[in-house]
């Protein structure tokens, strides 16, 4: 607690903290209010005398109903779910094995390979999306979920590897050595002794990878074209805006519902998420 007089506590602690929390969360509140606000209230100019921004007297679920019945929103949700889970599974598999190899085994170029994987961790999607779009087209993967399932691991694997390396380093080497003296092969010692201990690390990496895949936008925008193949972020931004008309009620309902899976996963595993977020920075 901040030391000193009551007014000091308010000025230096409560007021700034409240300001931060309110401004960080206000857009989400605004999303919710807009979702349940009827159109007649929604399109009332801000300087109109009866503009009541923070609540609504006639809450309605009509926007959510329209979103679920008149658009492909549920298809997008399903697509995003499948793609995110598949990409996360591939990345965890690769990251787990690579992390083990780089942190535990001695082999030529181990150090430089670790550095290369670290560098790929920093490569933004922006750098590669145009040639990658060309390659996806040549592989005939364009407009299929595979385009994303195979390319998302490029930014997930480096992260998973990096996180798992840190995790494996914290497991004492003696555990494996004991197993091997008892007759286990290297492979068995790895799969049956070390991997089960690494489950919390795998969980952290998985949660982080899942939220990153759910959030991805640029690749999904470029590689997918037909409406029924799209993911939530791309579907909501491109299909719910018809011409120049913004259906704000539906848009905000889409934004709200599209955020729920991520928020849900996050709420259950906050500690794991924070651990992977800060772990990835401290490296």
């Amino acid at each position: 607690m901040v030391e000193g007089a009551l007014w000091r506590r308010w000025v230096f602690f409560y007021i700034p903290l409240t300001a931060f929390v309110v401004s960080l969360l206000f857009p989400f509140y605004w999303m919710m209010v807009t979702t349940v606000r009827p159109d007649s209230e929604l399109y009332r100019p801000w300087n109109a005398p009866n503009y009541a921004p923070f609540w609504t007297t006639h809450p309605t679920l009509v926007h959510i109903r329209d979103l679920l019945t008149e658009t492909l929103f549920s298809t997008w949700m399903l697509n995003t779910m499948i793609i995110s889970i598949a990409a996360t599974a591939i990345s965890l598999f690769c990251g787990l094995l690579a992390g083990y190899a780089l942190s535990r085994l001695k082999f030529p170029f181990a150090g430089s390979l670790g550095t290369v994987i670290f560098i790929t961790y920093l490569v933004p999607q922006t750098l590669l999306f145009i040639p990658l779009a060309d390659i996806i087209r040549n592989f005939r993967l364009g407009d299929t979920p595979w385009a994303l399932i195979l390319t998302y691991p490029t930014f997930l694997i480096p992260f998973c590897t990096w996180l798992m390396m840190g995790y494996f380093k914290s497991i004492p080497k003696e555990l494996e050595e004991c197993a091997r003296i008892d007759g286990a092969t290297r492979w068995k010692a790895m799969v049956y002794i070390i991997f089960p201990i690494a489950v919390p690390g795998i969980l952290s990496a998985g949660i982080f990878a899942f939220t990153l895949s759910w959030n991805e936008f640029l690749y999904a925008l470029v590689f997918l074209s037909s409406p029924e193949q799209k993911t939530v972020p791309v579907g909501v931004t491109s299909e719910l805006i018809r011409g120049d008309v913004f259906y704000w009620g539906e848009l905000m309902a889409g934004a709200l519902l599209g955020s729920i899976p991520v928020a849900f996963v996050y709420s259950f595993f906050v500690e794991h998420y924070v651990a992977s977020l800060t772990g990835s920075v401290k490296g």
């Binding site: 999303m31 921004p53 933004p124 590669l128 145009i130 934004a255 906050v270 924070v274």
Partner: protein, 313 residues
Amino acid sequence: MTYTTVASPSVYAGSPKRGPITRLLEDERWLAMTLLLPTVALLGLFIAYPFIEGVRLAVTDAKVGIPGHFVGLQNFEKIWNDDIFHVAVWNTCVYTAVATVFKLVLGLWLALLLNHNFKGKAFTRAFILLPFIIPTVLSTLAWKWMFDPTFSVINWMLFRLGLIHSRINWLGDPNLALISVIIVNVWRGLPFYAISLLAGLQTISPELHEAAAIDGARAWQRFRHVTWPLLLPVTLVIVLFSVIQTFADFQLVYVLTGGGPANATQLFATYAYQLGIGTGLLSEGATISLAVFPVLLLVVIVQLLYIRRVETH
């Protein structure tokens, strides 16, 4: 006497009960190679290959569906003389610099606030990260709605507080659009800074503060001479990481303004998208994307030098 020798693992591994694959995997080098194979294959296919392909595209005149011919550095010359590209360079630099400074200062402030013990701390920390975890385009849509010139709730608030007298066209006014976009970027990135810096702060022993306090250091002096030097390594990593992300940002601007009005918020990524995907000029788009590369390289070099310095100490 030799018959008391304990069997070593390698003797076991060589025993005839095991198949050739198991024996091969007993060798560290073969095992490492096997374990790294999927990673190297995927990263090679979808990072190294596209990168080479990108460089190749940049020196041809390829368009969608047309392979194109070698044209040397013509594309680089073209964008060098392109006015929109100049605007994009300037915007990207301003966007990155201003957003990073605000994210760092505000993030540090928030981290210091969260480092106190108070009721509901874990709860607050969990909620504060929401802007970072909610899909960026979806939360950006909420901002677009909040910035809407006719229905803006921000305008309403500022008007009620007596700060403005007429409407502000946040995204439509070329002078304001970049500021608006920066505000959203800071809003989104701040939690990442705050939570990462908080993790850094928590590794600093409170005893150091107590010792400094006993020696008569005031709050500001304690921050300046105790906290800040210890926090610097973490801060550097966070800033470098975030600079790349901000420099290469796409989705936020794409949703809010699409680069407009009149290229006032055009960044590298949005311009590359507009040319490469929008108009199908693959080679020019790829050339502009590559402009991100020098910055990436610089950051990587700084990182590596820094990691080496830490390791040698």
